[in-house]
Symmetry: C3
Subunit: 393 residues, 3 copies
């Protein structure tokens, strides 16, 4: 019959992944929706900001990924949350050229690889938002060239990058970033994972085409809730920065601990004082229902959790409880930097309860309390509740 | 052969709908293009607005829908008309949990279910534009949680919602909406449909993060042609509103009549006078070629018409003629509301001729004449011709 | 087995093209990513513009194309480069109604067919950017109706169009364009192609809804590098224009020459002097590795090159060297047109080296030197290097 000629295989991964029979071509649609409700007590008496009650599509993404003739890969995904375009991964890669699990040279928009929590997909992070330093130190995607290598017990990423997509063409001399990250997993078994990593990133501010001057960097973050305001925030003052990050994680069956420490030295272009900022977090989580976090050693990140008893099979799904302590300190030299009125420190406690109903769907609830030390919002306590419904395909 | 292992089924619905063999996973790309030419005589002598001759992509959408493990569904669609992003349905749903045809709990961006014409897809409405009250009373999508139930002779929808996608994060306290809608179809056979429905919606205006004050609602509409200007329009004055809608429709073979009446009571935040606005329409249509409008009782809406003799098979396609009378009255208390200079009434007659060449393609021609009573444009007659080419997949 | 009922065929064209067995339905996802690094010496001493070093996603597109019931086609593609929406082809077509290879009536957003280089996809052009006159004379897509016909030795396109997507609804009377283009290929064999073509386009400026006056046309171009500034540029002065284009191309095995000449007469709405602008280019290219440019006679354009020995099969891929001379002259009557301070001439030499690693992937390197004659930037020499990584699916 005709079907004998049908050069097609399919794997159901949320959406179907199609491939031809020899696997040299692959194609899959990808996407995710995260719908949030956030309620935030913003300590109006101190901060002057009103309390928050609101919904948002935190992420609403559609994209594709594929393989062409075995050695070329592409990934392209766009986020439409807030009815705005935000290009995520958008690259072409030359892949599988080294005798290890993962080997890619990517050209296009991609992460400036710097942190375990950064490179772990928003679909698979434990809390609703990543730790504060990841937001503050701009661990985002930029357009450039990256090299990725990895195997069962290590990973390595490096790259050189120009502007991020929303600023492309704005600079005569792009914002640029160089990064290098390495991770090791001396233990990586079905029951136990031990992960350690380190990275270094250097950035230079771009030169605006319009003004001819550098567009200086700023550092700021929200109290681990996306609809909250920002209560620690520097002015735009840095012409460049150097960042070091240390990563650690350990998983034993359904238990997991994870932590990172980041230190950033900023080159103050205005007052000549070069402050050192730092941020760190440590979290612990437990799958009551016995699941284990899924570690991907060859890229040094966490992936999709396999739910043991999905609710669609009559099970309870996966229930996970988690806690995190998250600190970001932007207070160094706040007196020496003009306009540094909100250069304080933020310490946030979070408790989370996640219900992974299937491998692709989840409800996530988190409560956070952040304390501000220093700056105009000194003494403020920001308490938030965040509820998320998510699906990906 | 290998094909015996291919866990794939396909149905051709414009684009292919893929599913695995047991039907627990489904996936389909969706989209639509509507290309319009509009010509509008705007009665410049009275209104001061120039006549219009122009083309537009009225809708240009791309999206996906799918089922994951039987009980989870998602739908995500974005409109790019005018080179702008407008997120349409973007939700995750827990489905098929009740012993009826349709049972869903949806989280994300979705309709605030209020009206038969609103919930009927723009692909399947009889005229190019929905009736004026649907535009004026903001029967749009917002981000929240909805519950949908329905079976062969009834449907029920309720929900509570926050901001629409383009305003998410703008409010300290979101625009919110609560809605409940019920419909019955005591007769629902292959030749005859009788539909009745009612809904209630309450809204509160959101509190702007920037100003700390409520972003008051405004009411306005176009004369049933999308490139025309608006000739009745209130100022932004309402802090909240309550809306009641009554729906009725009857289909007998190729004949159909449909009508709705909506009444909205606005809470005037400025002058204290609370006006009552109303709108209604009644339309009748006839498929000369014998087709019947396709009623979907479990959601209380009309769906895709099955064309008996598509032009691609050498047939004439489906030819439909239709007429509508559409009234929107925003004149109540116009003297008492400051700035209510254009708070008039609009009465519009429409005649339409639709050529459904196949199930997925159509040419639509409509002529409309609107009369403005009251307000600054009192006495104006707006005459328009609208031509649309559409396809969906 | 079940598979005997699977009404599906697949062709792997980057992404899979699905069709049903009788070919009456087809569906394919399409897209492209082009990641660029550009370095431009902008002759700051004369032009005052800084030198450029930057990266960008030159194109980042996602879309679909399909056939519904044999005679209806659609194509819809959106570009997200720079985190902005730019709608590309977005039309429904009635197809295959004439006994020739190609017959379509398209409604929606589509090219105003005017030039060989314009209608050749950006994936398949020889250099990174099209010739300067194509940018300067706005050979872009607009929303309207087009008729396309073609066979093995000729093609014909005509159409009438309103606003482009980003301006739809802005005009009371749209920017409009009428165009007609014809091409012939007296020789079109496996080794030899001879192409000639001509086109005429008339445009009228649109009437702004806001101001009630015409939005006058402007003419300008970059020195064949997309991150460079523009050094020849007229003010907005033309209420309409007439353009004539002559096309020629010859391919003999791996050698190709191509050239076009365009002349545009602008109706000066301000000073009454109607200047005549012109632009032309000629390029030559050679596939060292023996490939031949792929000519599509029925649409009068070049298509995808078939790489003889892809790198993924251990080959060298296709290596192509190319040169171009590209002239745009906007100097006519510069003294008579108020504000015409940069109405000069630009002459650009380009050398290109393209490495087509597979049919779907390429690295492109080009060096360009442009000389400005006349106007404020008289005597400037702009030298640029452009490097591109691209993939399409």
């Amino acid at each position: 019959g005709d079907d004998e000629d049908l050069d097609l295989k399919v794997k159901w991964k949320g959406a179907p992944e199609f491939s031809n029979k020899d696997g040299s071509f692959k194609f899959k649609i990808r996407g995710r929706i995260m719908g949030d409700y956030d309620n935030v007590d913003q300590d109006t008496a101190i901060t002057g900001e009103p309390d928050i009650s609101g919904t948002e599509l935190r992420r609403a993404r559609l994209g594709v990924e594929g393989v062409i003739m075995t050695n070329f890969k592409y990934k392209f995904e766009v986020d439409f949350a807030g009815d705005e375009v935000s290009t995520k991964d958008a690259y072409v890669a030359w892949a599988n050229w080294a005798p290890v699990e993962k080997s890619e040279v990517r050209a296009g928009n991609q992460y400036v690889y710097s942190s375990l929590e950064q490179v772990t997909s928003s679909r698979f992070i434990t809390f609703n938002e990543r730790a504060a330093f990841i937001d503050a130190f701009f661990l985002e995607r930029q357009i450039g060239v990256g090299v990725l290598l990895g195997d069962d017990h290590w990973s390595f990423q490096t790259g050189y990058y120009g502007a991020p997509p929303d600023e492309q063409g704005d600079f005569s001399d792009d914002t640029s970033a160089f990064t290098v990250r390495g991770t090791v997993a001396p233990i990586n078994t079905d029951t136990t994972v031990l992960h350690a990593g380190a990275s270094y990133r250097h950035r230079d501010a771009g030169t605006s085409r319009d003004t001819g001057t550098a567009e200086l960097f700023q550092y700021r973050a929200r109290p681990d809730n996306h609809l909250a305001d920002r209560f620690i925030e520097t002015p735009n003052f840095a012409s460049g920065d150097d960042m070091f990050v240390l990563e650690g994680a350990a998983v034993f069956k359904s238990l997991s601990v994870q932590g990172e420490y980041a230190q950033l030295e900023a080159d103050d272009a205005l007052a000549g004082f070069n402050p050192t900022y730092n941020g760190y977090y440590i979290d612990a989580s437990w799958f009551i229902t016995g699941e284990m976090r899924n570690y991907e050693a060859d890229s040094g990140e966490f992936g999709r959790t396999k739910v043991l008893n999905p609710v669609t099979d009559g099970g309870w799904g996966a229930w996970q409880i988690a806690g995190r302590y998250d600190v970001l300190d932007l207070s160094d030299g706040s007196g020496a930097i003009p306009g540094c009125t909100e250069c304080g420190e933020q310490k946030t406690w979070l408790i989370g309860l996640n219900w992974l109903t299937t491998d692709y769907t989840a409800l996530k609830l988190q409560v956070a309390q952040a304390e501000i030390d220093g700056g105009a919002n000194d003494g403020a306590e920001i308490t938030s509740v965040g509820l998320r419904a998510q699906i990906d395909w």
